[in-house]
């Protein structure tokens, strides 16, 4: 029986290297695909929001955000995407295991739906990351308005994304429908070219 190797939707296009405007030193924009992340939608069932929050707190020590925010601990992040709905993002084996625990525990209290294959996650970071995103993202990403811990669900260049900020570099993760990923990539790289960008080696897909 053949073994099925997972393939990220960006594998063909996200070739590591340096592109766009030629400059020395660190690139103002760095793009890294994150096919290693596991994503799962958690959606509290009717009237169960508080209960879900309690269980999540108990199991992970994380306080479920009541708005478009991100909380994270040991590789497991919970991102508010809609009323009573979150996107769980797990990086690494330990986080993945605690996500499994969470999914199991929440059965009946929340709907949990795997989206690891449904979304491609791209990390965009560097001093000009904001300027690049501003070419397609309608949100105000200025540090006065959007900071690490903030998240949003919003279309970028006509493609629906979930976006969260990780640090003040700034670095952002963008989760987009995997079937649109190559199209998104085309927009992103065209937008970053004037600054010069680097495509970092992707993680192994899981």
């Amino acid at each position: 029986m053949p073994k099925l190797a997972p393939l990220s939707p960006l594998a063909a296009v996200a070739v590591p290297g340096r592109y766009g405007k030629c400059i020395g030193g660190p690139r103002p924009v760095v793009l890294t695909e994150r096919p290693d992340m596991r994503l799962c939608v958690l959606s509290a069932r009717r009237g169960a929001s508080a209960q879900v929050a309690e269980m999540v707190q108990g199991l992970t020590g994380l306080t479920l955000p009541q708005g478009p925010k991100r909380v994270a601990k040991q590789g497991l992040a919970l991102i508010g995407t809609a009323p009573d709905q979150w996107l769980a993002v797990a990086e690494g084996d330990a986080a993945s295991a605690s996500l499994d625990t969470l999914i199991e525990a929440l059965a009946g209290t929340a709907t949990t739906v795997d989206q690891s294959g449904g979304k491609a996650v791209l990390r965009v970071s560097g001093s000009r990351a904001r300027a690049v995103l501003a070419k397609g993202c309608m949100l105000d990403l200025d540090p006065r308005a959007f900071t690490p811990g903030d998240a949003a669900t919003t279309p970028i260049a006509l493609i629906d994304c979930v976006l969260w900020q990780l640090d003040e570099a700034p670095s952002y993760d963008l989760a987009m429908p995997s079937t649109f990923a190559t199209s998104f990539w085309a927009w992103l790289t065209a937008s970053a070219a004037e600054f010069g960008y680097e495509v970092a080696a992707p993680q192994q897909p899981r």
Binding site: M1, L4, L7, K135, T179
Partner: protein, 995 residues
């Protein structure tokens, strides 16, 4: 480095101005080479070389020169650049000069100086406003053949390139506390005030240089030259992280809730955009507050031949001298109704230009006049200009009525100012008349916008500075900053602003233009009045006053003031026409941004895309998706061969098709079954776990909306599919039902379209292929997984999968879903596993053939105009429950027996070809709508039957099986006799799916 010699730019002043004399820039106009300097516009470059004739007017082809020094320019429109980058109608007064610039004049033939179409000028009595409404009607048939083509050929000013625009454009989004529009003294002070308070400020300036009128006048501020003061202010602004300075950026429109449209000309000052950069960028600026500091535009007067090259706004004359270091003439007459005339004369005199006379309409200036060193004609007016390609002189009528002839090559006209209030009107505001400056000033403002400086009608420098400081601080305060107006810099000028404008001077022979660009004269205005088009909006539309590229920036107020004079109404009674976006012309490219050509819309790629490309599949757009239509094999010359082979192989052996594009929705919750019962016409609540069912949804108006399968994975867990085309619409509809109609039901909806790669494996050997991949622990035998069975399992050693035994093709068939990342590998594995059975991949075309053979309805039948009954699915409509659309589906006209209903058709002669879109006509009936009995929706060549088959809607169709009918396609000249049959051509009992 070349130094500036007199022959190079004979009208360049030795000193002064904000240009870099050390660096020549060569450019060409109409094939001739000239030089200019960095800091020049094309207009100032041309003037430096003594070039005044730059264009021909729209209607009469009269010679035209440079009239202004800014975006209000009506005359000096040129074609900039060449080939695919050609830009017609570019204003020489705003085009920034660059090395190698090429421009050509427009609307002339054969050349600018000899334009044969200037014959129109002689015909002008025939071509008065609205003449075409009264003529070209006799004889009637000449209209289409002669008059119309001639009129249309004469249209337009510039020429569009026929080649694709090679440059890039992009959109961008910006947010701020305070947006400041315009960087004159008002804008700069506002920016300083807001920035010092800590607000996020955007300062947008249309010009390539910040400073507004300060660049064009000889003011001093705080003891330094205005230009130096501007530099200092800019340096301070640049030191704030929270300030974004945007030169070359025009705010063109105001939209709801503080959204502003702006276009940044990122690279228009270069011959070709810098690598990786867009030519222009269009900005959405979302501002909590906006300060409009857009200044004012000087106005002109109407007198005979006032369009001669060499007639120029006085403010422009000062701009050319002070900012560009150019003398736009050698002998000057100034014609003014206000102090700006004197200021102009002073400016010119200081550069050594001869002042022939100052004609001031004000008689009471006589006294003052004596203190000036040049001839003054108080109470006078220029009645007529002389000259052809260049002004030669003017006839002046003095206060006593005597005519005075003056020689001159430049006439500077000053007749007061119109505040640039366009942006205050985009949300419906109307300007109001202000008597003290005899101009319209902003009326009610858009929410959260304030106006200051000349734009508010506060025309002096001191007022502009004070306004800016106050409004900038106010705006910062309103957005939450602790702000107080900064100390005001000292200003040492006295500016008088009161005057009595003079709108037209009668008496002179020759047309007196009001709208220079559209060739609208005072006579046209009189005629419009005479014919009853006296309301301003009628005046505009009848004469085209203010409808050109400049949108009447120098014409509108004069036009309506003249109409007011004629009718005896006041100017405010006469009113203004509506200001609409854009404030200045905006390229379509900038507005489209990145979404052009192949990037017009994002592409959506199914999981097998890369593999399909490797196979050489022929791809096509299906909505946003790119799907394989068929997979040609060597030796297949026509697409029909490939499609027939694929379809036949499915029926005979096995095929695989990527159906991941179907919408997939995960539905979980205690009330999921109840919910599905209410949205589908058939019953879903009782569906057993591990089973799937075909379902149909209606819209609330009773028409069919979509179909798909509903599968029950658990007691509280369903997955449904939607058609590819309707996925988003159905999701929205279901969320509407869940959130709005039945908020108390306990369920959640999550789209999993992208999560699952889903392949259809169809054909008698389908199970054999699957069996090779399904992990041994799972039983997929006919008994374990019968028709419509559903199960979760694992494949290829533990990859989670879902297997649905559903069939669209009518064969033994499955749809297998795996997480999308395994999709590529699974496709390869399926093909490999199926090799021994002769497996083929099949595309959307074969899919279509197979479904038509089975009479399954799809997009062409589900077109929003058909009911479940029309589709032959009436039997599914449950009688004992409510569901969306149930009541409206019962309306009498939807029950009518005459409504066409789904049937199959086959050509009587098997060799005949059917075409979808044909209409059904009974045998012997003529080609008229009364005989129309329905139409053919879907057609395929059936490999199974060896001839064309079709689905369609036919009146009383179900009662007419076996009857003959004609499928008529008049567009392609076909009239095909057909037999009506049941809409299923293959395996009517459905036995194959059970195998």
């Amino acid at each position: 480095m070349t130094s500036l010699s007199q022959t190079q730019e004979p009208f360049r002043l030795k000193t002064g101005g904000l240009i870099d004399r050390s660096q020549p820039l060569s450019f060409r106009f109409d094939g001739r080479s000239y030089t200019g300097r960095p800091g020049d516009t094309l207009a100032s470059g041309l003037l430096a070389n003594g070039v005044h004739l730059v264009g021909r007017s729209f209607k009469y082809h009269r010679p035209r020169g440079i009239f202004t020094a800014g975006p209000e320019e009506p005359n000096a429109l040129v074609e900039l650049r060449r080939g695919p980058r050609a830009e017609p109608n570019s204003k020489a007064t705003t085009v920034e000069l660059y090395e190698g610039l090429e421009a050509t004049s427009q609307n002339r033939w054969p050349s600018l100086s000899l334009d044969l179409l200037s014959i129109n000028s002689a015909l002008s009595p025939f071509l008065a406003a609205g003449f075409y409404y009264k003529t070209f009607m006799w004889p009637a048939r000449f209209w289409k053949r002669l008059y119309e083509p001639v009129i249309r050929r004469g249209a337009g000013l510039g020429r569009a390139s026929l080649q694709p625009d090679p440059d890039l454009y992009e959109k961008a989004y910006a947010h701020c506390d305070v947006l400041i529009i315009g960087s004159g003294p008002a804008g700069l002070m506002a920016a300083l005030a807001a920035a010092r308070a800590g607000a996020r400020v955007i300062l947008a300036e249309e010009d390539f240089r910040f400073g507004g009128r300060l660049l064009a006048e000889r003011f001093s501020i705080d003891g330094m030259s205005a230009a130096e003061w501007v530099e200092r202010a800019l340096a301070e602004l640049a030191s704030f992280d929270s300030v974004r300075l945007m030169p070359r950026t025009t705010v063109y429109g105001v939209y709801d809730q503080g959204t502003y449209g702006a276009v940044e000309r990122v690279n228009d000052h270069l011959a070709v955009p810098q690598e990786f950069q867009p030519r222009q960028r269009s900005w959405h600026i979302v501002a909590k507050r906006a300060v409009l500091a857009s200044g004012a535009i000087e106005r002109t007067m109407a007198f005979a031949n006032n369009d001669r090259p060499g007639v120029m706004l006085a403010s422009a004359v000062r701009a050319y001298v002070n900012r560009f270091g150019v003398a736009p003439g050698k002998r000057v007459v100034v014609f003014a109704s206000c102090d700006d005339g004197w200021r102009t004369a002073e400016t010119l005199a200081a550069t050594g230009v001869a002042i022939e006379a100052v004609v001031d309409t004000r008689e009471d200036q006589a006294l003052l006049a004596s203190s000036f060193p040049w001839r003054v004609i108080p109470g006078g007016a220029v009645e007529r200009a002389h000259g052809g390609h260049r002004l030669r002189g003017v006839t002046v009528r003095d206060a006593s009525g005597a005519a005075i002839e003056l020689d001159c090559d430049l006439l500077a006209v000053a007749n007061g100012w119109n505040p640039s209030l366009h942006l205050t009107c985009h949300l419906g505001g109307r300007p109001v008349w202000n008597d003290s400056i005899s101009a319209f000033v902003p009326g009610p403002l858009p929410p959260r916008m304030s106006v200051g400086g000349a734009a508010a009608g506060h025309l002096t420098l001191a007022e502009a500075i004070a306004d800016g400081a106050r409004l900038g601080a106010e705006a910062a305060k309103e957005t939450g900053f602790d702000a107080s107006p900064p100390a005001l810099p000292g200003v040492e000028v006295e500016e008088g602003t009161a005057h009595v404008p003079l709108w037209r001077v009668g008496g002179g022979k020759g047309p007196a233009f009001v709208d220079l660009q559209n060739d609208v004269t005072t006579k046209d205005i009189e005629l419009a009045h005479r014919e009853g088009y006296g309301a301003v909006e009628h005046l505009k539309r009848y004469t085209t006053l203010g409808m050109a590229t400049d949108q009447g920036k120098t014409a509108n107020v004069n036009g309506l003031a003249i109409m007011a004079e004629i009718t005896g109404r006041s100017i405010p009674q006469t009113g203004t026409t509506a200001f609409r976006p854009p404030y200045g012309p905006v390229t379509l490219g900038a507005l489209a941004g990145q979404h052009r050509a192949s990037h017009f819309r994002p592409k959506r790629l199914p999981p097998s895309h890369a593999w399909a490309e490797e196979q050489g599949a022929v791809l096509a757009e299906a909505g946003l998706w790119i799907r394989a239509q068929w997979y040609p094999k060597a030796g297949e010359e026509r697409w029909q061969q490939s499609v027939a082979r694929e379809a036949a192989t499915v029926r005979r052996a096995v095929g695989v098709c990527d159906v991941s594009t179907l919408g997939k929705i995960d539905i979980q919750g205690a009330d999921a079954g109840t919910f599905l019962d209410r949205v589908y016409i058939n019953k879903m609540m009782m569906l057993a776990v591990g089973k799937a069912r075909y379902g149909v949804m209606l819209r609330e108006d009773g028409f069919a909306m979509d179909d798909g399968t509903v599968a029950r994975l658990g007691v509280q867990h369903f997955v449904t599919t939607t058609t590819t085309a309707n996925a988003a619409k159905v999701m929205q509809h279901l969320e509407f039902c869940r959130q709005v109609l039945w908020p108390n039901l306990d369920l959640k909806l999550v789209s999993v379209t992208d999560q699952w790669a889903q392949y259809s494996i169809a054909g008698p050997r389908a199970r054999d292929v699957l069996a090779k991949l399904v992990d041994p622990a799972f039983d997929i035998s006919n008994e374990a997984l019968p028709r419509m069975g559903v199960t979760a399992l694992e494949v290829c050693g533990g990859v989670p999968a879902r297997l649905f035994r559903v069939s669209y093709s009518g064969e033994l068939a499955y749809e297998i879903a795996v997480p999308a990342r395994y999709g590529d590998a699974l496709m390869r594995a399926l093909i490999e596993a199926g090799e021994e059975y002769g497996i083929v991949p099949y595309g959307t075309e074969a899919l279509n053939v197979l479904r038509i053979e089975k009479g399954h309805v799809a997009g062409p039948e589900f077109n929003g105009q058909t009911t479940a009954r029309d589709l032959g699915l009436g039997g599914m409509m449950a009688r004992d429950k409510d569901y969306i659309g149930r009541v409206m589906a019962e309306r009498p006209a939807l029950q009518g027996v005459e409504r066409p209903i789904l049937v199959g058709v086959m050509p009587l002669r098997p060799s005949r070809i059917l075409s979808a879109g044909s209409h059904f006509l009974a045998a012997g009936s003529g080609y008229v709508a009364a005989n129309d009995e329905g139409h053919l929706t879907s057609v395929a060549w059936s490999p199974e039957l060896g001839h064309d088959i079709g689905l369609g809607f036919l009146k009383r169709g179900t009662d007419r099986l076996g009857e003959r009918i004609r499928a008529v396609d008049l567009l392609r000249g076909q009239d095909v006799e057909c037999v009506v049959c049941a809409p299923v051509f293959v395996d009517p009992k459905g036995e194959r799916t059970r195998a």
